[in-house]
Protein backbone atom coordinates (compact mmCIF):
# COMPACT_ATOMS: atom_id res chain seq x y z
CA UNK A 1 0.00 0.00 0.00
CA UNK A 2 2.74 2.43 -1.01
CA UNK A 3 0.20 4.53 -2.82
CA UNK A 4 -1.96 5.31 0.17
CA UNK A 5 1.08 5.99 2.33
CA UNK A 6 2.17 8.72 -0.10
CA UNK A 7 -1.34 10.12 -0.09
CA UNK A 8 -1.34 10.18 3.65
CA UNK A 9 1.99 11.94 3.84
CA UNK A 10 0.82 14.50 1.35
CA UNK A 11 -2.35 15.15 3.29
CA UNK A 12 -0.57 15.63 6.60
CA UNK A 13 2.06 17.77 4.93
CA UNK A 14 -0.60 20.08 3.57
CA UNK A 15 -2.38 20.20 6.90
CA UNK A 16 0.87 21.11 8.59
CA UNK A 17 1.54 23.96 6.19
CA UNK A 18 -1.97 25.31 6.59
CA UNK A 19 -1.76 25.01 10.36
CA UNK A 20 1.49 26.95 10.31
CA UNK A 21 -0.47 30.14 9.68
CA UNK A 22 -2.49 29.62 12.80
CA UNK A 23 0.55 28.59 14.83
CA UNK A 24 2.47 31.67 13.72
CA UNK A 25 -0.43 33.88 14.65
CA UNK A 26 -0.59 32.43 18.13
CA UNK A 27 3.17 32.59 18.31
CA UNK A 28 3.22 36.30 17.62
CA UNK A 29 0.56 37.03 20.18
CA UNK A 30 2.23 34.84 22.77
CA UNK A 31 5.66 36.29 22.26
CA UNK A 32 4.47 39.90 22.31
CA UNK A 33 2.39 39.26 25.40
CA UNK A 34 5.24 37.58 27.22
CA UNK A 35 7.73 40.26 26.17
CA UNK A 36 5.47 43.07 27.29
CA UNK A 37 4.39 41.49 30.59
CA UNK A 38 6.75 43.60 32.64
CA UNK A 39 5.56 46.88 31.12
CA UNK A 40 1.93 45.99 31.71
CA UNK A 41 2.72 45.02 35.30
CA UNK A 42 4.50 48.31 35.96
CA UNK A 43 2.17 50.73 34.18
CA UNK A 44 -1.12 48.83 33.82
CA UNK A 45 -3.60 50.46 31.52
CA UNK A 46 -1.98 53.78 32.38
CA UNK A 47 0.52 52.79 29.69
CA UNK A 48 -2.10 53.55 27.06
CA UNK A 49 -2.75 57.11 28.23
CA UNK A 50 0.68 58.16 29.42
CA UNK A 51 2.77 60.34 27.15
CA UNK A 52 6.05 59.88 29.00
CA UNK A 53 9.02 58.31 27.25
CA UNK A 54 11.99 58.62 29.55
CA UNK A 55 14.42 55.70 29.50
CA UNK A 56 16.53 57.29 32.26
CA UNK A 57 13.65 57.65 34.71
CA UNK A 58 12.12 54.38 33.49
CA UNK A 59 8.81 55.96 32.52
CA UNK A 60 7.06 54.88 29.34
CA UNK A 61 3.69 55.53 27.73
CA UNK A 62 2.07 54.64 24.44
CA UNK A 63 0.02 57.75 23.85
CA UNK A 64 2.34 59.74 21.53
CA UNK A 65 3.00 56.79 19.26
CA UNK A 66 -0.65 55.73 19.19
CA UNK A 67 -1.74 59.29 18.48
CA UNK A 68 0.81 59.62 15.69
CA UNK A 69 -0.31 56.33 14.21
CA UNK A 70 -3.98 57.26 14.30
CA UNK A 71 -3.43 60.77 12.94
CA UNK A 72 -1.18 59.74 10.05
CA UNK A 73 -3.59 56.97 9.16
CA UNK A 74 -6.58 59.31 9.30
CA UNK A 75 -4.89 61.87 7.07
CA UNK A 76 -3.85 59.14 4.65
CA UNK A 77 -7.39 57.88 4.44
CA UNK A 78 -8.96 61.31 4.03
CA UNK A 79 -6.55 62.14 1.24
CA UNK A 80 -6.64 58.76 -0.51
CA UNK A 81 -10.36 58.00 -0.43
CA UNK A 82 -11.68 60.60 -2.86
CA UNK A 83 -8.76 60.03 -5.22
CA UNK A 84 -9.18 56.26 -5.16
CA UNK A 85 -12.93 56.61 -5.66
CA UNK A 86 -12.55 58.93 -8.61
CA UNK A 87 -9.83 56.80 -10.18
CA UNK A 88 -11.80 53.59 -9.71
CA UNK A 89 -14.89 55.22 -11.18
CA UNK A 90 -12.96 56.35 -14.19
CA UNK A 91 -11.25 53.00 -14.68
CA UNK A 92 -14.52 51.05 -14.65
CA UNK A 93 -15.95 53.24 -17.36
CA UNK A 94 -12.98 54.26 -19.50
CA UNK A 95 -12.34 53.08 -23.07
CA UNK A 96 -10.58 49.73 -22.93
CA UNK A 97 -6.98 50.62 -23.88
CA UNK A 98 -6.89 53.59 -21.51
CA UNK A 99 -8.42 51.60 -18.68
CA UNK A 100 -5.86 48.86 -19.25
CA UNK A 101 -2.82 51.14 -19.23
CA UNK A 102 -3.96 53.32 -16.34
CA UNK A 103 -5.17 50.29 -14.40
CA UNK A 104 -1.75 48.70 -14.65
CA UNK A 105 -0.10 51.95 -13.64
CA UNK A 106 -2.21 52.07 -10.50
CA UNK A 107 -1.37 48.45 -9.73
CA UNK A 108 2.32 49.18 -10.22
CA UNK A 109 2.15 51.91 -7.60
CA UNK A 110 1.62 49.09 -5.15
CA UNK A 111 4.85 47.45 -6.28
CA UNK A 112 7.11 50.37 -5.37
CA UNK A 113 9.18 49.42 -2.31
CA UNK A 114 8.32 51.55 0.69
CA UNK A 115 11.91 52.70 1.14
CA UNK A 116 11.63 54.39 -2.25
CA UNK A 117 8.55 56.21 -1.04
CA UNK A 118 10.56 57.21 2.01
CA UNK A 119 13.40 58.63 -0.10
CA UNK A 120 10.97 60.45 -2.33
CA UNK A 121 9.29 61.82 0.74
CA UNK A 122 12.55 63.02 2.22
CA UNK A 123 13.97 64.66 -0.87
CA UNK A 124 10.85 65.86 -2.67
CA UNK A 125 7.89 66.00 -0.36
CA UNK A 126 9.53 67.44 2.75
CA UNK A 127 11.00 70.54 1.01
CA UNK A 128 7.77 71.00 -0.93
CA UNK A 129 5.74 70.85 2.27
CA UNK A 130 8.05 73.21 4.08
CA UNK A 131 8.31 75.87 1.40
CA UNK A 132 4.92 75.79 -0.21
CA UNK A 133 2.19 73.53 1.03
CA UNK A 134 2.29 74.19 4.76
CA UNK A 135 2.64 78.00 4.47
CA UNK A 136 -0.15 77.98 1.92
CA UNK A 137 -2.48 75.90 4.06
CA UNK A 138 -1.82 77.82 7.23
CA UNK A 139 -1.34 81.39 6.07
CA UNK A 140 -3.35 81.63 2.88
CA UNK A 141 -6.24 79.38 3.80
CA UNK A 142 -6.03 80.43 7.43
CA UNK A 143 -6.35 76.91 8.72
CA UNK A 144 -4.38 77.70 11.88
CA UNK A 145 -7.61 78.48 13.72
CA UNK A 146 -8.59 74.83 13.51
CA UNK A 147 -7.73 72.31 16.21
CA UNK A 148 -4.65 70.19 15.52
CA UNK A 149 -3.19 72.77 13.15
CA UNK A 150 0.02 74.41 14.29
CA UNK A 151 2.47 76.76 12.56
CA UNK A 152 5.61 74.74 12.53
CA UNK A 153 6.98 74.62 9.04
CA UNK A 154 9.89 72.27 8.96
CA UNK A 155 8.36 69.91 6.45
CA UNK A 156 8.64 66.85 8.66
CA UNK A 157 5.78 65.51 10.69
CA UNK A 158 2.39 63.89 10.79
CA UNK A 159 0.94 65.66 7.78
CA UNK A 160 3.78 64.75 5.46
CA UNK A 161 3.76 61.15 6.64
CA UNK A 162 0.00 61.03 6.09
CA UNK A 163 0.40 62.23 2.51
CA UNK A 164 3.02 59.59 1.75
CA UNK A 165 0.82 56.93 3.27
CA UNK A 166 -2.05 58.20 1.15
CA UNK A 167 -0.07 57.59 -2.03
CA UNK A 168 0.97 54.17 -0.76
CA UNK A 169 -2.52 52.92 0.11
CA UNK A 170 -4.20 54.49 -2.89
CA UNK A 171 -3.58 51.56 -5.25
CA UNK A 172 -4.95 49.05 -2.75
CA UNK A 173 -8.16 50.96 -2.16
CA UNK A 174 -8.50 51.78 -5.82
CA UNK A 175 -8.05 48.17 -6.91
CA UNK A 176 -10.70 46.88 -4.52
CA UNK A 177 -13.11 49.67 -5.44
CA UNK A 178 -12.61 48.99 -9.14
CA UNK A 179 -13.37 45.30 -8.66
CA UNK A 180 -16.48 46.18 -6.69
CA UNK A 181 -17.71 48.75 -9.19
CA UNK A 182 -17.23 46.47 -12.17
CA UNK A 183 -19.61 44.05 -10.48
CA UNK A 184 -22.53 46.49 -10.51
CA UNK A 185 -25.23 44.84 -12.63
CA UNK A 186 -25.47 46.72 -15.96
CA UNK A 187 -29.25 46.79 -15.76
CA UNK A 188 -29.07 48.58 -12.40
CA UNK A 189 -26.83 51.25 -13.89
CA UNK A 190 -29.10 51.51 -16.89
CA UNK A 191 -32.18 51.98 -14.79
CA UNK A 192 -30.41 54.70 -12.82
CA UNK A 193 -29.46 56.48 -16.00
CA UNK A 194 -32.99 55.75 -17.12
CA UNK A 195 -34.52 57.96 -14.42
CA UNK A 196 -32.30 60.79 -15.57
CA UNK A 197 -29.19 60.54 -13.40
CA UNK A 198 -25.92 62.11 -14.40
CA UNK A 199 -22.78 59.99 -14.29
CA UNK A 200 -21.82 61.52 -10.97
CA UNK A 201 -25.22 60.77 -9.45
CA UNK A 202 -25.09 57.18 -10.64
CA UNK A 203 -21.61 56.79 -9.17
CA UNK A 204 -22.49 58.34 -5.83
CA UNK A 205 -25.96 56.96 -5.19
CA UNK A 206 -26.16 53.70 -7.09
CA UNK A 207 -22.74 52.19 -7.75
CA UNK A 208 -21.33 53.23 -4.39
CA UNK A 209 -24.51 52.30 -2.57
CA UNK A 210 -24.61 48.91 -4.21
CA UNK A 211 -20.95 48.16 -3.50
CA UNK A 212 -20.77 49.84 -0.11
CA UNK A 213 -19.63 46.82 1.84
CA UNK A 214 -16.99 45.94 -0.71
CA UNK A 215 -15.75 49.52 -0.66
CA UNK A 216 -15.58 49.40 3.13
CA UNK A 217 -13.50 46.25 2.79
CA UNK A 218 -11.10 48.11 0.52
CA UNK A 219 -10.92 51.01 2.93
CA UNK A 220 -9.99 48.70 5.79
CA UNK A 221 -7.32 47.00 3.71
CA UNK A 222 -5.82 50.43 3.08
CA UNK A 223 -6.14 51.27 6.76
CA UNK A 224 -4.33 48.11 7.72
CA UNK A 225 -1.48 48.96 5.38
CA UNK A 226 -1.21 52.50 6.68
CA UNK A 227 -1.21 51.41 10.32
CA UNK A 228 1.78 49.16 10.02
CA UNK A 229 3.84 51.01 7.42
CA UNK A 230 7.29 51.65 8.83
CA UNK A 231 9.99 52.55 6.37
CA UNK A 232 8.34 55.39 4.45
CA UNK A 233 7.08 56.96 7.64
CA UNK A 234 10.45 56.73 9.36
CA UNK A 235 11.98 59.07 6.79
CA UNK A 236 9.55 61.93 7.16
CA UNK A 237 7.79 61.76 10.52
CA UNK A 238 10.55 63.48 12.49
CA UNK A 239 10.75 60.76 15.16
CA UNK A 240 9.89 62.85 18.19
CA UNK A 241 8.71 60.91 21.23
CA UNK A 242 6.25 63.40 22.62
CA UNK A 243 2.67 64.44 22.12
CA UNK A 244 2.40 66.45 18.88
CA UNK A 245 1.17 70.06 18.99
CA UNK A 246 -0.65 69.60 15.73
CA UNK A 247 -0.54 67.84 12.39
CA UNK A 248 2.55 69.74 11.26
CA UNK A 249 4.56 68.65 14.29
CA UNK A 250 7.24 66.08 14.22
CA UNK A 251 5.90 62.93 15.83
CA UNK A 252 6.24 59.18 15.67
CA UNK A 253 4.14 56.13 14.99
CA UNK A 254 4.13 52.77 16.71
CA UNK A 255 5.92 51.12 13.81
CA UNK A 256 8.51 53.90 13.55
CA UNK A 257 9.14 53.83 17.33
CA UNK A 258 9.76 50.10 17.23
CA UNK A 259 12.18 50.36 14.31
CA UNK A 260 14.03 53.26 15.89
CA UNK A 261 14.38 52.05 19.46
CA UNK A 262 14.74 48.30 19.54
CA UNK A 263 18.45 48.12 18.68
CA UNK A 264 19.59 49.85 21.86
CA UNK A 265 16.69 49.01 24.13
CA UNK A 266 16.80 46.67 27.08
CA UNK A 267 14.99 46.01 30.31
CA UNK A 268 11.83 47.97 30.88
CA UNK A 269 12.16 49.94 27.66
CA UNK A 270 12.31 46.76 25.66
CA UNK A 271 9.22 45.53 27.43
CA UNK A 272 7.44 48.80 26.68
CA UNK A 273 8.33 48.40 23.02
CA UNK A 274 6.87 44.89 23.06
CA UNK A 275 3.72 46.39 24.54
CA UNK A 276 3.56 48.87 21.68
CA UNK A 277 4.01 45.98 19.27
CA UNK A 278 1.12 44.16 20.88
CA UNK A 279 -1.08 47.25 20.54
CA UNK A 280 -0.19 47.54 16.86
CA UNK A 281 -0.85 43.86 16.24
CA UNK A 282 -4.25 44.13 17.89
CA UNK A 283 -5.13 47.18 15.84
CA UNK A 284 -4.08 45.60 12.54
CA UNK A 285 -5.79 42.38 13.47
CA UNK A 286 -9.04 44.16 14.22
CA UNK A 287 -8.90 46.19 11.01
CA UNK A 288 -8.07 43.13 8.93
CA UNK A 289 -10.97 41.20 10.44
CA UNK A 290 -13.30 44.08 9.65
CA UNK A 291 -12.14 44.17 6.04
CA UNK A 292 -12.58 40.42 5.68
CA UNK A 293 -16.01 40.67 7.18
CA UNK A 294 -17.04 43.46 4.81
CA UNK A 295 -15.71 41.76 1.70
CA UNK A 296 -17.32 38.47 2.63
CA UNK A 297 -20.64 40.13 3.39
CA UNK A 298 -20.43 41.78 0.00
CA UNK A 299 -19.68 38.50 -1.76
CA UNK A 300 -22.50 36.73 0.04
CA UNK A 301 -24.99 39.36 -1.00
CA UNK A 302 -23.91 39.17 -4.62
CA UNK A 303 -24.08 35.40 -4.54
CA UNK A 304 -27.60 35.40 -3.20
CA UNK A 305 -28.95 37.74 -5.85
Amino acid sequence: MKHSFGDCLFKWGCLFCAAMALLLLFGFFAQLTAGSAEAWRRFGFGFLVSSAWDPVAGKFGALPAVTGTLLTTAIALIAALPLAFAAAMYLTDAPRPIALVLGHAVDLLAAIPSVIYGMWGLFVLVPLMQDHVQPFLVERLGLCGLPFVNRDFNGFGIFTAGIILAVMILPYICAVMRDVFVMTPPVLRESAFGVGCTRWEVARDIVLGYGMRGVMGGVFIGLGRALGETMAVLFVIGNVMKMPDGIFSGSTTIAATLANNFPEADGLQKSALFALGLILLCMSFGIQSLSQYCLRADAVRRGSR
Binding site: V187, E190, G196, C197
Partner: protein, 251 residues
Protein backbone atom coordinates in the same frame (compact mmCIF):
# COMPACT_ATOMS: atom_id res chain seq x y z
CA UNK B 1 -55.85 60.08 -32.25
CA UNK B 2 -52.72 61.90 -31.21
CA UNK B 3 -49.39 60.39 -32.13
CA UNK B 4 -47.02 60.52 -29.16
CA UNK B 5 -43.94 58.98 -30.70
CA UNK B 6 -42.99 58.10 -34.22
CA UNK B 7 -40.02 56.09 -35.42
CA UNK B 8 -38.94 57.05 -38.93
CA UNK B 9 -36.52 54.80 -40.77
CA UNK B 10 -34.69 53.77 -37.62
CA UNK B 11 -31.57 51.70 -38.11
CA UNK B 12 -29.51 50.46 -35.22
CA UNK B 13 -25.96 49.12 -35.02
CA UNK B 14 -24.04 47.18 -32.39
CA UNK B 15 -20.58 48.00 -33.68
CA UNK B 16 -20.60 46.54 -37.17
CA UNK B 17 -23.69 44.40 -36.58
CA UNK B 18 -26.93 45.94 -37.75
CA UNK B 19 -29.79 44.96 -35.43
CA UNK B 20 -32.65 47.15 -36.71
CA UNK B 21 -33.60 47.86 -40.31
CA UNK B 22 -35.82 50.78 -41.34
CA UNK B 23 -38.19 50.63 -38.39
CA UNK B 24 -41.28 52.75 -38.87
CA UNK B 25 -43.80 52.85 -36.07
CA UNK B 26 -46.41 55.20 -34.73
CA UNK B 27 -47.15 55.09 -30.99
CA UNK B 28 -50.46 56.63 -30.03
CA UNK B 29 -50.85 58.72 -26.93
CA UNK B 30 -52.62 57.16 -23.92
CA UNK B 31 -52.71 53.75 -25.51
CA UNK B 32 -50.81 50.54 -24.84
CA UNK B 33 -48.67 49.43 -27.73
CA UNK B 34 -47.40 45.85 -27.54
CA UNK B 35 -44.15 44.87 -29.21
CA UNK B 36 -43.98 41.18 -30.04
CA UNK B 37 -41.68 38.91 -31.99
CA UNK B 38 -39.30 35.98 -31.58
CA UNK B 39 -36.23 36.21 -29.38
CA UNK B 40 -33.40 38.28 -30.81
CA UNK B 41 -35.56 40.16 -33.31
CA UNK B 42 -34.70 43.58 -31.90
CA UNK B 43 -37.58 44.44 -29.59
CA UNK B 44 -35.40 45.57 -26.69
CA UNK B 45 -33.05 47.31 -29.07
CA UNK B 46 -35.95 49.30 -30.51
CA UNK B 47 -37.14 50.37 -27.06
CA UNK B 48 -33.69 51.38 -25.90
CA UNK B 49 -33.59 54.08 -28.56
CA UNK B 50 -36.53 55.98 -27.07
CA UNK B 51 -34.65 57.12 -23.97
CA UNK B 52 -31.24 57.00 -25.65
CA UNK B 53 -30.00 54.58 -23.00
CA UNK B 54 -27.96 52.79 -25.70
CA UNK B 55 -25.62 55.79 -25.65
CA UNK B 56 -24.04 54.46 -22.46
CA UNK B 57 -22.15 52.08 -24.71
CA UNK B 58 -19.58 53.48 -27.04
CA UNK B 59 -20.05 51.14 -29.98
CA UNK B 60 -23.84 51.41 -30.24
CA UNK B 61 -25.36 53.78 -32.75
CA UNK B 62 -28.81 54.70 -34.03
CA UNK B 63 -29.66 56.24 -37.40
CA UNK B 64 -32.90 57.73 -38.61
CA UNK B 65 -35.38 59.80 -36.68
CA UNK B 66 -37.36 59.22 -33.52
CA UNK B 67 -39.97 61.92 -33.09
CA UNK B 68 -41.50 62.47 -29.64
CA UNK B 69 -44.05 65.29 -29.61
CA UNK B 70 -42.73 66.36 -32.97
CA UNK B 71 -39.08 66.64 -31.88
CA UNK B 72 -36.40 64.29 -33.10
CA UNK B 73 -34.93 63.08 -29.82
CA UNK B 74 -31.86 61.70 -31.53
CA UNK B 75 -30.73 65.27 -32.30
CA UNK B 76 -27.59 66.16 -30.42
CA UNK B 77 -29.20 69.30 -29.01
CA UNK B 78 -31.79 67.34 -27.00
CA UNK B 79 -31.38 67.38 -23.21
CA UNK B 80 -30.91 63.68 -22.45
CA UNK B 81 -31.67 64.00 -18.73
CA UNK B 82 -34.98 65.70 -19.48
CA UNK B 83 -35.72 63.10 -22.16
CA UNK B 84 -35.18 60.34 -19.63
CA UNK B 85 -37.48 62.02 -17.16
CA UNK B 86 -40.10 62.14 -19.89
CA UNK B 87 -39.54 58.54 -21.00
CA UNK B 88 -39.47 56.08 -18.10
CA UNK B 89 -38.21 52.51 -18.47
CA UNK B 90 -39.07 49.28 -16.65
CA UNK B 91 -36.83 46.27 -17.11
CA UNK B 92 -37.44 42.54 -17.10
CA UNK B 93 -35.74 42.08 -13.74
CA UNK B 94 -36.84 44.48 -11.00
CA UNK B 95 -34.07 46.99 -10.34
CA UNK B 96 -34.63 48.57 -6.94
CA UNK B 97 -31.88 51.03 -6.07
CA UNK B 98 -29.69 50.22 -3.04
CA UNK B 99 -31.76 52.38 -0.69
CA UNK B 100 -35.01 52.28 1.26
CA UNK B 101 -38.44 51.84 -0.31
CA UNK B 102 -39.21 55.49 0.34
CA UNK B 103 -35.92 56.73 -1.08
CA UNK B 104 -36.35 54.61 -4.20
CA UNK B 105 -39.44 56.58 -5.12
CA UNK B 106 -38.21 59.87 -3.69
CA UNK B 107 -34.99 59.67 -5.66
CA UNK B 108 -36.24 60.90 -9.05
CA UNK B 109 -38.38 63.51 -7.30
CA UNK B 110 -35.35 64.98 -5.58
CA UNK B 111 -33.41 64.71 -8.82
CA UNK B 112 -35.84 66.47 -11.14
CA UNK B 113 -38.02 68.59 -8.91
CA UNK B 114 -35.76 69.26 -5.92
CA UNK B 115 -38.65 68.36 -3.64
CA UNK B 116 -38.36 67.87 0.09
CA UNK B 117 -40.41 67.66 3.29
CA UNK B 118 -44.16 67.23 3.20
CA UNK B 119 -44.50 67.74 -0.52
CA UNK B 120 -41.98 64.98 -1.15
CA UNK B 121 -43.86 62.65 1.21
CA UNK B 122 -47.12 63.36 -0.57
CA UNK B 123 -45.68 62.73 -3.99
CA UNK B 124 -44.03 59.50 -2.89
CA UNK B 125 -47.31 58.29 -1.44
CA UNK B 126 -49.15 59.28 -4.60
CA UNK B 127 -46.68 57.38 -6.77
CA UNK B 128 -46.86 54.29 -4.56
CA UNK B 129 -50.66 54.46 -4.66
CA UNK B 130 -50.45 54.91 -8.43
CA UNK B 131 -48.46 51.68 -8.60
CA UNK B 132 -51.00 49.91 -6.29
CA UNK B 133 -48.24 49.33 -3.78
CA UNK B 134 -49.01 51.79 -1.00
CA UNK B 135 -51.12 49.50 1.16
CA UNK B 136 -48.47 46.80 1.08
CA UNK B 137 -45.48 48.96 1.93
CA UNK B 138 -46.83 51.79 4.06
CA UNK B 139 -45.30 50.16 7.15
CA UNK B 140 -42.03 49.29 5.43
CA UNK B 141 -41.06 52.59 3.88
CA UNK B 142 -37.79 52.61 5.79
CA UNK B 143 -36.72 49.09 4.96
CA UNK B 144 -34.56 48.27 1.96
CA UNK B 145 -36.07 47.95 -1.50
CA UNK B 146 -34.60 44.46 -1.80
CA UNK B 147 -36.68 43.25 1.15
CA UNK B 148 -39.82 43.26 -1.00
CA UNK B 149 -41.07 40.34 -3.08
CA UNK B 150 -40.26 40.22 -6.78
CA UNK B 151 -43.68 41.45 -7.83
CA UNK B 152 -43.58 44.21 -5.23
CA UNK B 153 -40.13 45.22 -6.38
CA UNK B 154 -41.38 45.51 -9.94
CA UNK B 155 -44.26 47.73 -8.82
CA UNK B 156 -41.76 49.73 -6.78
CA UNK B 157 -39.85 50.33 -10.01
CA UNK B 158 -43.09 51.37 -11.70
CA UNK B 159 -43.77 53.75 -8.81
CA UNK B 160 -40.28 55.16 -9.20
CA UNK B 161 -40.82 55.61 -12.91
CA UNK B 162 -44.19 57.33 -12.60
CA UNK B 163 -43.03 59.54 -9.73
CA UNK B 164 -40.98 61.55 -12.21
CA UNK B 165 -44.21 62.34 -14.10
CA UNK B 166 -43.06 60.81 -17.36
CA UNK B 167 -45.16 60.88 -20.50
CA UNK B 168 -44.08 57.56 -21.97
CA UNK B 169 -43.47 54.30 -20.10
CA UNK B 170 -41.31 51.70 -21.80
CA UNK B 171 -41.67 48.21 -20.35
CA UNK B 172 -39.35 45.46 -21.51
CA UNK B 173 -40.98 42.16 -20.52
CA UNK B 174 -41.99 43.59 -17.14
CA UNK B 175 -43.82 40.47 -15.98
CA UNK B 176 -41.69 37.63 -17.32
CA UNK B 177 -39.79 37.19 -14.06
CA UNK B 178 -42.92 37.37 -11.91
CA UNK B 179 -45.61 34.92 -10.79
CA UNK B 180 -49.10 34.89 -12.41
CA UNK B 181 -50.93 36.64 -9.58
CA UNK B 182 -48.41 39.48 -9.45
CA UNK B 183 -48.52 39.60 -13.25
CA UNK B 184 -52.28 40.14 -13.19
CA UNK B 185 -51.80 42.97 -10.72
CA UNK B 186 -49.31 44.66 -12.99
CA UNK B 187 -51.56 44.21 -16.00
CA UNK B 188 -54.46 45.85 -14.16
CA UNK B 189 -52.10 48.59 -13.14
CA UNK B 190 -51.10 49.21 -16.73
CA UNK B 191 -54.73 49.54 -17.78
CA UNK B 192 -55.17 52.17 -15.08
CA UNK B 193 -51.98 53.97 -15.99
CA UNK B 194 -52.75 54.37 -19.66
CA UNK B 195 -55.10 57.26 -18.95
CA UNK B 196 -52.05 59.19 -17.77
CA UNK B 197 -49.22 57.73 -19.81
CA UNK B 198 -48.38 56.32 -23.19
CA UNK B 199 -47.20 52.75 -22.71
CA UNK B 200 -45.01 50.58 -24.92
CA UNK B 201 -44.60 47.03 -23.68
CA UNK B 202 -42.44 44.21 -24.97
CA UNK B 203 -43.95 40.82 -24.25
CA UNK B 204 -43.48 37.19 -25.19
CA UNK B 205 -46.91 36.38 -23.88
CA UNK B 206 -49.47 36.51 -26.68
CA UNK B 207 -52.41 36.39 -24.27
CA UNK B 208 -50.96 39.32 -22.43
CA UNK B 209 -50.56 41.33 -25.61
CA UNK B 210 -54.13 40.49 -26.65
CA UNK B 211 -55.52 41.26 -23.17
CA UNK B 212 -54.06 44.64 -22.53
CA UNK B 213 -52.77 46.28 -25.69
CA UNK B 214 -54.56 48.58 -28.11
CA UNK B 215 -51.93 48.34 -30.81
CA UNK B 216 -49.42 45.69 -31.67
CA UNK B 217 -46.19 45.74 -33.65
CA UNK B 218 -44.66 42.49 -34.86
CA UNK B 219 -40.87 42.44 -35.17
CA UNK B 220 -38.97 39.88 -37.14
CA UNK B 221 -35.22 39.89 -37.76
CA UNK B 222 -34.86 43.57 -37.00
CA UNK B 223 -37.76 44.67 -39.19
CA UNK B 224 -41.28 45.67 -38.27
CA UNK B 225 -43.26 43.25 -40.37
CA UNK B 226 -46.66 44.48 -39.38
CA UNK B 227 -48.28 46.91 -36.98
CA UNK B 228 -51.80 48.05 -36.28
CA UNK B 229 -54.75 47.67 -33.92
CA UNK B 230 -54.32 44.61 -31.74
CA UNK B 231 -57.69 43.19 -32.82
CA UNK B 232 -56.69 43.23 -36.46
CA UNK B 233 -53.21 41.81 -35.89
CA UNK B 234 -54.53 38.92 -33.84
CA UNK B 235 -57.59 38.05 -35.91
CA UNK B 236 -56.73 39.07 -39.43
CA UNK B 237 -52.99 39.60 -39.85
CA UNK B 238 -52.06 40.60 -43.37
CA UNK B 239 -48.62 39.00 -43.32
CA UNK B 240 -48.32 35.21 -43.18
CA UNK B 241 -45.26 35.47 -40.89
CA UNK B 242 -47.33 37.37 -38.35
CA UNK B 243 -49.99 34.72 -38.40
CA UNK B 244 -47.43 31.95 -38.00
CA UNK B 245 -45.93 33.66 -34.98
CA UNK B 246 -49.22 34.49 -33.28
CA UNK B 247 -50.57 31.01 -33.70
CA UNK B 248 -47.41 29.68 -32.16
CA UNK B 249 -45.97 27.88 -35.14
CA UNK B 250 -42.53 29.36 -34.58
CA UNK B 251 -40.73 31.71 -32.22
Amino acid sequence: MAIKAKAENLNFFYGGHQALFDNNLEVEANRITAVIGPSGCGKSTHLRIYNRIFELYRDQRAEGRLMIDGVNVLDSGVDVLELRRKVGMIFQKPTPFPMSVFDNVAYPLKLHYKLKGGELNDRVEAALRGASLWEEVRDKLKSGGLALSGGQQQRLCIARAIAAEPEILLMDEPTSAIDPVATLKIEELMLELKSRFTIVIVTHNMQQAARISDFTAFFYKGRIIESGPTGTIFTAPSNPKTEEYITGRFG
